[in-house]
Symmetry: C2
Subunit: 124 residues, 2 copies
């Protein structure tokens, strides 16, 4: 799909999502895809060889577990970048809404191909 040439309302896009861990692309910018997703529970440990992954929390609380250092906790309005190749696991027992920024075509479970949670991001 072509990049939208009208304003994108993040809350409206999120309101249309019912499933968890299934990012929807809402914008393309300089070869990256901006996505929104609802998270709840524990994701799988994975990394992304294509590039860095940005997380921005809009609602709720998100813990990003990291293999070799202490976890990062994000609340609304807080963001973090997991660098390319760094293994991580998002965890959010109560659930949260997030904005993600990834290289085009990046899959949510990265190098982990056999996860039930693996999704290609469709346009919202």
């Amino acid at each position: 799909m072509a990049r939208p040439d009208t304003p994108v309302n993040l809350s409206e896009k999120l309101a249309g999502i019912e499933d968890h861990w299934s990012p929807r692309t809402v914008m393309e910018v300089n070869g990256l895809e901006l996505k929104v997703s609802k998270f709840k529970g524990e994701f799988v440990w994975h990394s992304h060889a294509e590039g860095d992954e940005m997380f921005l929390v809009l609602r709720g609380e998100l813990t990003i577990e990291l293999r070799d250092r202490e976890s990062v906790r994000l609340g609304p309005g807080e963001m973090f970048v997991v660098p390319r190749g760094v293994e991580h696991r998002p965890v959010t027992p109560e659930g949260c809404d997030v904005v993600l920024l990834d290289p085009e075509g990046a899959l949510n479970t990265g190098e982990v191909e056999d996860s039930e949670l693996r999704r290609e991001a469709e346009w919202a």
Copy 2:
């Protein structure tokens, strides 16, 4: 400056800014810089040859005037991408807080070098 390896709180970064039209870099991701800025009034017409520019409004209302089509109006939680090379002018009589995403090193006034509003983005 190196990319922060701790969470970045966008509201806290914005609270530390007193001047308008002077973006501060808060994160680096895949060769792009994520910035926050306070806008108020009318900016200059300009474009960016380096790449696309994303605007996400956090507070207030922003109009992005575009040379060859109708303006885009953004409220809180709304975003828009001005494609590479497209001339535009941000206007916000009441003022607004925004998140910007640009290629590394992009200057706020683009090809317009003689504007009083021209700034290099420093890290917040």
